[in-house]
């Protein structure tokens, strides 16, 4: 790769970023934060490409490996901005405004310490978040109903571990770190115990997979579940149950060879139920447990032999307790029956109505959504 190749590629990046920058609408009502992040990122790409192309030190023969890595970073960032943010900004619909407004209110009601994300109903999958752009994507039709909206709060919670420098997120990250330290200690001890006796070879081999799954992904996912439990209470538990019903899944899955991104639904449910109890929703926790058991009767699933080794109750308990502490330490307010914001109230009422009389629910939902958004100018 010679200098003219680098020069031409960096010029291309610069031009592509400029074209995209020109395509970002100047004002997008309710989505200005996303437009601003988009402009900021594209500006950084343009400046970065110019630096790598024009500054003499980057042309030095000894630094071409570093230059290539930096160039790849620019391409990566451009791809992400183009495919997520610019695409979302060019297809703004009423649902996007509504969902952005709702997420903002949910964040305010629990006193979330970071800026709330923007929502775009352009997801081809389920709910997800791009933490760098602070953009939640959700399927179009989910924005027209209330029952899955509690899942938005799980996505919002992902912003906390993503923060590299913001001290407002640190107590939550410290709580995560405390749980991870206990995971290490637990699996170290278990492996030492197993080494002393005659234990199944398979179990010894699977333990590192479980330990790494906990450390790399499961703890974060459980913390986001529990954040949502403390922020919007039982509605999140019911939305989780509904998702378990809706998607094909292996409820007690224990990975054997490769790590997985999410803990098994049975482990998540257990954490959610314990979180509800800790937050003072004992009756609702009992009701959710009963509904969960009824679902398992229908699916006919039973725990795998490894389940308790893979998801030790003590580790789930640590996740529940430390996430509760982390949630409060960042200044968030645990939702209670006596102190619900309008949005928290709407989502919990939706679940109460749906469970009490599913037949009448659609009429109520339509009218409740109209009332809610009409008072907010949409």
């Amino acid at each position: 790769m010679n200098e003219s190749y680098f020069h031409a590629t960096l010029t291309q990046i610069e031009e592509r970023a400029k074209r995209l920058l020109g395509g970002v609408p100047l004002r997008v009502e309710g989505m200005d934060a996303l437009a601003e992040s988009c402009r900021r990122e594209l500006d950084l790409v343009i400046r970065g490409a110019g630096h790598l192309r024009d500054e003499p030190q980057y042309r030095h023969k000894a630094v071409q490996t570093e230059r290539l890595r930096l160039l790849r970073n620019l391409f990566g960032q451009l791809d992400i901005v183009e495919s997520s943010a610019v695409a979302a900004l060019q297809r703004v619909r009423t649902e996007d405004f509504r969902m952005t407004r709702m997420v903002g209110e949910l964040a305010a009601e629990c006193r979330f310490p970071l800026p709330a994300p923007v929502v775009s109903c352009t997801s081809q999958d389920y709910f997800s978040i791009n933490t760098g752009l602070r953009l939640v994507q959700m399927p179009l039709t989910d924005g027209r109903h209330l029952l899955h909206l509690p899942d938005l709060v799980h996505e919002v919670a992902h912003l906390l571990p993503a923060e590299l420098h913001n001290p407002r997120a640190t107590p939550f990250k410290r709580a995560l770190q405390e749980v991870k330290a206990r995971i290490y200690a637990h699996y170290d001890q278990r492996q030492a115990d197993l080494a002393l006796g005659r234990s199944p070879l398979g179990l010894v081999a699977r333990m590192p997979v479980w330990c790494q799954s906990w450390l790399k992904a499961w703890t974060v996912e459980l913390f986001c579940d529990l954040f949502a439990v403390y922020a919007i209470g039982p509605a999140y538990g019911w939305a989780h149950l509904h998702l378990c019903l809706r998607l094909p899944s292996d409820t007690y899955h224990c990975p054997s060879f490769t790590e997985t991104s999410h803990p098994a639904n049975a482990a998540r449910t257990s954490a959610i139920v314990d979180g509800l109890r800790l937050a003072g929703f004992t009756t609702e926790a009992d009701e959710l447990t009963k509904a969960w058991e009824e679902l398992l009767i229908i699916t006919g699933e039973r725990p795998e032999a490894d389940f308790a080794e893979c998801y030790p109750p003590a580790l789930i308990k640590h996740a529940v307790e430390f996430s509760f502490q982390g949630f409060r330490d960042i200044g968030c307010t645990v939702m209670s029956r006596s102190a619900m914001g309008q949005c928290q109230s709407l989502l919990n009422e939706a679940w109460r109505r749906f469970r009490a009389d599913p037949g009448k629910y659609p009429t109520w939902e339509s009218s409740a959504m109209n009332d809610y958004f009409e008072t907010r100018g949409r």
Binding site: Q57, Y58, H60, A62, V63, T65, E66, R67, R69, L70, R72, N73, G76, Q77, D79, I80, S83, S84, Q124, D125, Y126, S128, I129, N130, T131, G132, H154, E155, H158, P161, A162, L164, K173, R174, L176, Q177, K180, A181, Y184, Q212, L215, K216, A217, V220, E221, C224, L243, L247, S261, H262
Partner: protein, 120 residues
């Protein structure tokens, strides 16, 4: 269910570390050698995080696990960088150690990017 939230957190953090580390390497390799080792805060944070049993950042956790799993990046390199950082003095192998770290970081970043792209 998808894990775009976690993957995008990891990718963003790795990209941020990679930016700082590669710009710093360019500086070290193109300017007159200095005995003082004072990397940007993010690079220092990364080196310290890799030396911890349980790093606080999700991306450093991934890097630390990757180091142990594949032996791709030896503990001894992290220890040397940590010593240089604590002493604020470059050792003869500091630049080579940082280059190895940048290479390892680049590989992990490529994996995170591929996982993130698959989700969209």
């Amino acid at each position: 269910m998808n894990n775009a939230g976690l993957e995008s957190s990891i990718y963003d953090q790795l990209r941020s570390y990679s930016e700082s580390l590669n710009h710093y390497l360019v500086k070290l390799k193109t300017e007159a050698p200095a005995p003082v080792f004072a990397p940007p805060a993010e690079v220092a944070e990364l080196i310290r995080g890799l030396g911890e049993n349980v790093p606080i950042e999700v991306s450093v956790q991934l890097l630390a696990s990757g180091m142990k799993e594949r032996g791709a990046f030896p503990d001894s390199t992290v220890r040397r960088l940590r010593l240089a950082l604590d002493a604020c003095r470059s050792a003869p192998e500091t630049v080579a150690d940082l280059e190895r770290l940048a290479q390892f970081l680049g590989r992990q970043q490529a994996g995170a990017f591929a996982r993130l792209r698959r989700m969209r």
